[in-house]
Amino acid sequence: MMSRLVILSANSLKGSGPFGAGLVHASRSLHTSSQSRAPVPPLPETGGKVRHGIFPEEIFQLLYPKTGVTGPYMLGTGLITYLLSKELYVINNETLSAICIFSVIIYGVKKFGPSVAAFADKLNEEKLAKAQEVKDLAMSGLTQAIENEKKEQWRVEGRAMLFDAKRNNVAMLLETNYRERLHMVTNEIKRRLDYQIALQHLNRRLEQEHMINWVEKSVIGSITPQQEKESIAKCIADLKMLAKNTQAKATV
């Protein structure tokens, strides 16, 4: 794992540093290779496969044809035995502290590894989601713009109908206005004629009343006092007769 890290770091440091630039860009500046930056090949989704956390799978694949499945394990055991028996590695107190620290590290990685990986993935997902949201917003905005444009085009087709409707409207308004004015004129004329009629009626009535008054006055003036007395006596005599008649009817 650390060797791979070193390789990775060296790979990325390759472009930087005092002489790194020359290494990478030498072939590019001389245009000897047909290398181009685009399209960039897709990156691998997961890292290199490892067995037991540190040994790359490639070693196992390398040794498989010659030594089978147990080959690398035998190699490891043999190496360790060689180092211990020849005392190239001396077991001393540091070995104990090594066992302790490695057991703590392995326990920590096994216990917290998945959750830390999930956390890192979540951070990456959030970053990706933000970019995706921008892209989605842009796309939806553009589709909306296309729809709006289509609607505007449809509206343009209906423009003739709109003008016809407007024309009809205006014609109706004019017609209504004309009719109103006509009505107003007739009403005014009728009012004036009615006034004249009422005036004539008033005149006739006044004449009639005046004539009646004059006739009454002349009649009343022509009644002499002698005639008045005679009529009053006649009335009294009539009344007495009537009273006698009713009295006789009542007793009967």
């Binding site: 770091s9 107190n93 070995t95 104990l96 502290s97 090594a98 302790c100 890192a120 951070l123």
Partner: protein, 227 residues
Amino acid sequence: MTMNLFNQFLSPTFLGLPLIAIALMAPCLLYPSPAPWWQSNRWMTLQNWFIGSFIKQTLSPINTKGHSWALLLATLMVFLITLNTLGLLPYTFTPTTQLSLNMAFAVPLWLATVIMGFRNSPTHALGHLLPEGTPTPLVPILIIIESISLLIRPLALGVRLTANLTAGHLLIQLVSSAAFSLLLSQTTAASLAVGLLLLLTILEIAVAMIQAYVFVLLLSLYLQENV
């Protein structure tokens, strides 16, 4: 036996060539570097998140002028954490156990904060030497005490880190050698010592990270006072 215990703190050499330069510069190769594509792998994301949240937390109480120290503090933190935690692996050399390294970090950075404080607002910086609300007869003594505490800060910073790490490494050595020597004759006592060693290892991992954090935190506090 005593000679053996302190061999781990000798500056490493190989055939007379000092390896201290490699010991100081090699750990940075372990960290992922940014790739030219915009979405990085897990290591890079975690590293970014860690440095980002650490700097946000450390620099939030400091005003904008002190934010130019962000890169320095982040680098210092990552460097110290790396050196401390890598030193817990067997047969490694921890440069932060050397007083020279720690004082070389503490004195210039502390002095920088003090000089900045005295240059920008000398009255404010001198005012730190007298806490508020002290009774008048105590004022001269208190000023002397406060200035001594100010001058002792770099010493405390450096020696704190050195002492913690050296003590931890020494304890690990002692307990592991005790366990090793008892391993064959008195196995139960040895197993007790191994248990102690496990707990001590966990403590040392914590101490390694905490001490680095405390170093940087105290520096940020001195910066906050003076900027």
